[in-house]
Amino acid sequence: MSLISFFPDWMLTHGAAFLVVVPLIAGAIAAILPKRQIAAALTVAVSFICMLTSLLLVLQIIDGQTINYALGGWDAPHGIAYVVDGLNAPILFLISAIGFLVSVYGMPTIIAEVEPKKRAPFYAAFLICLAGLLGMVVTGDAFNVFVFLEVSSISTYSLVAMGASRDRRALTAAYNYLIMGSIGATFFVIGLGFLYMETGTLNMADMAVILREMEGGSRVSEIAFGFIIVGLGLKLAMFPLHTWLPGAYAHSPSMVTVFLASTATKAALYLLLRFVFTIFDVSFNYVFDVEIYLLAGLGMVGMILGSLQAIFQTDIRRVLAYSSVAQVGYMLLGVGLGTAAGLTAGYLHLMNHAVIKGALFMALGAFWYRYGITRVTDFNGLSKSMPWTMGAFTLGGLSLIGVPFTAGFTSKFRLVEAAFLKGWWWAVAIIVVSSVLAIIYIGRLLLAAYFQSPPEVNGHVVAKNEAPLLMLIPMWFLVLLSIAIGINADIMVDLAEGAASVLLPISAGATP
């Protein structure tokens, strides 16, 4: 790959660690910076560097290689290893690229939404959150996952709470998120404890080898698996454990909502994939049962109930938040199918959904930025008052529904195909029903925006007031990306198939 030659040598060797260390240090620096502008510039620069670094990692692993980086020179399994392979490299790129777009997008919104004194700390928390998310994806050490999970979570709690100057409910939302998130993380760490008891190691690759030698291990591993699934389920908003999500998405500052919606649940889902398929193995009875009945089952329940709840919300951000719960269900269904086709579809949907939801939440942020609106009824006539933003929202919404030529169609279609191949007719029916529900909750917003007149204030129709370019450019970038994926998804499909082949090494290439 010729692109690699543009990067310096030290980056080739140390890229994995660089990705985590840079935002972590920059976060500490940002906290003490006196002015918002400097902190903002630092954030944009750091997230851009992270994006380049992760792009480099993707380029390095694209032919199926694995990068093993021994942190501090301590080799695995004694030291902490950072492992980059086909499964996590695309997620790393996704997180850092969204981080970059969001930090550009956030420049105007932060001024509007966060108190002046808290702007520099806001950026600090954002950078630490970025470092945490990247860290939990890049690391090959199970306990290190917990540490980074908490690093990202704790900074997220404070980020959500910073929405308080815009909406006081951000405080209670952050508190609820904190309680649920901590319980999830503690469950996860309990599971890790049991797993350590069983295997005597914390290195993921090592655990995998030992568990396979033990053929799944004793009851202790089963218990460990259960705790880990519940813990991660909380983090990724698996259906009945999703209660923290709508509040956290609805009341945090726009920039945080976009970032959370596109990355946080995705990183947790990555961990789920890693634990279910790589560390444990679907050939173990208990893992298989959980995969088929729990993940696929709850995924489908979430697809229907999440979409239904989305229909009845009055707050637009809650509509999209519940929609996220439903979309997580699609990904879980892909995971639950357990076939290479299903995993490819689920993984593809993970990436596509990040792009789509990012664009949609960016549009919502722009609506709030200009008119301070968050209610569904406030959508009236928005196509006239903010045509470009509404255009982005429309295309994003169509993509969420899964109209041809959009990213949503590509991944949903593959999911349907995978379900057919496995003979899961009912799953196909549920995908269809859930898509119909998506038509309703998105269609409702589009109808109001296009077929109603803008409201009148003091006898004057609300004037046209388009969002600033700094918000429009990242938004349209994501929208156009989702269209591009809809037209030609080859790169994404290659990445998703690469990820699936990491998860199911035996069947790689054997099944379509």
Partner: protein, 151 residues
Amino acid sequence: MLTAFFENYNYYVVIILMMTGLYVVFSSRNLIKKLSGLSVFQTSVFLLYITIGKVEGGQPPIVSENHASNDSSVMVAGGGEAAIGHAGQMSDVLYSNPLPHVLILTAIVVGVATLAIGLALTVRIRETYGTIEEDELAMLDYTYNLEGTDA
């Protein structure tokens, strides 16, 4: 039976603390009480880790020349091996594995950070709403939630 009880004594304590903590988190409507429940819950995990850190017949995890398998491509149960000890070198010494202690040191830090953020949030909630009872908070936001307004 009594022996079995005392052998697993630590685990019973862990379970009781864990369940107490979780119950307190879910049942109480006071934000501070919830946080204390959360702390108890997390503390129980520390105990769990410390309990499993005692290994009979272990030896210090010092990598010696003849044992070292620093070649990371050969995946061996290195950490586990160190903790359990080499075959034939089993001793009766009750040995403390340092790794769980180190882990739990990290977890304690994390727990303290979480608690700090939680308490800070509680303070802000008290300043903004004038109460830290969940039911009252829900009442105060009732109209907000009903209309989904921002104002």
